[in-house]
Amino acid sequence: MNIKLSYDIAKSDFSKAGEASSNIKKVLRQLGIPADIIKRIAVSTYEAEMNIVIHSDGGRIDLLVTPEKIQVKAVDKGPGIKDVELAMKEGFSTAPNEVREMGFGAGMGLPNMKRCADEFHISSSLGNPTEITIIVNI
C-alpha cells in the first residue's frame, strides 16, 4: 500500500519551519521504518523545508511511501537558482544575516541532501521553481 502526504510550506515563516519534517518523521516511525532510514529522510527533508522557508516564495513538500522506497518532493514557487552547480558546492550560500544568526546559511544543505539520499535530483533556473526529489530505498 502506498502512502501520500502533502505539506504547504510558507515563505519566511520561521516559527512553523520544521513542522512538516517533524510530521513526516512521526509518520515514518508509526509505519515501523528503520531508524537509520528515517534519520536520512528527516535530515534531508528538513534541509529542503528550511530552504523553501529561507530562499523561496513558498512551496510544497510531498511524501510518498511505497514498500520499496520513501520519496520526498520539494517544489517551490521560485525565484529559482541561477547556477545549480555552484549552489551544490559546500559553503556556497546567499542566506541573509538573520538566517545565519539562527544557525543556518553555511551552504551545507544541498550537498547534505545528496549525501543522505540514495537518489537525488534538482532542477532549477532563475525565474523558475526549484524542484528537488529525494529518494531513500527501504
Binding site: 520544521g18 528538513y46 539562527m102
Partner: protein, 118 residues
C-alpha cells in the same frame, strides 16, 4: 556517562526532560552552527551549543539527538522548551562558556562525536 553526572560536572540546571536524566551519553558535539550539526554528525550524541532557539530543538529532533546543553547561561524561551518537552529532549543550562564546558567533559572521559569525514 549519564546526564545526571554531566549536570553535576557542569553545575547545570535541568529545564526539560527531568524524567530522562539517567540517559547515557557516549560522545559530545559542540557547535553554534545547526547547518554543520545536520551535515557532520553521525552519532546519537550530546549537543553543546550557545544557539538558543526552536531550530536547535528541531535540528536535534531530526538527528535523534536527545539531550542538549545550552552554554554561557543562555536561557531558552517557552516555545523552545515546549518543543523540547514534546520531543522528549533533555535540556540543561550551564553558566560555563562553550570552551570550559567542553574541557570539563573531555577531562572526565567524554570523547568527541563521530563525524562524516570530508
Amino acid at each position: 556517562m549519564n546526564l545526571r553526572e554531566i549536570q553535576k560536572l557542569l553545575d547545570a540546571e535541568v529545564l526539560s526532560g527531568e524524567e530522562y536524566i539517567d540517559r547515557e551519553v557516549k560522545t559530545v558535539f559542540a557547535c553554534d552552527l545547526m547547518s554543520d550539526v545536520l551535515a557532520f554528525v553521525e552519532d546519537k550524541t550530546l549537543l553543546l551549543t550557545g544557539l538558543v532557539n526552536p531550530h536547535t530543538i528541531r535540528t536535534a529532533e531530526m538527528m535523534d539527538i536527545n539531550a542538549i546543553v545550552f552554554v554561557r547561561g543562555k536561557m531558552p524561551d517557552k516555545e523552545t522548551l515546549n518543543l523540547a518537552e514534546e520531543n522528549g529532549i533533555v535540556i540543561l543550562i550551564t553558566k560555563y562558556i562553550l570552551y570550559t564546558s567542553c574541557g570539563i567533559l573531555y577531562k572526565n572521559g567524554l570523547a568527541g562525536a563521530e563525524i562524516v569525514h570530508k
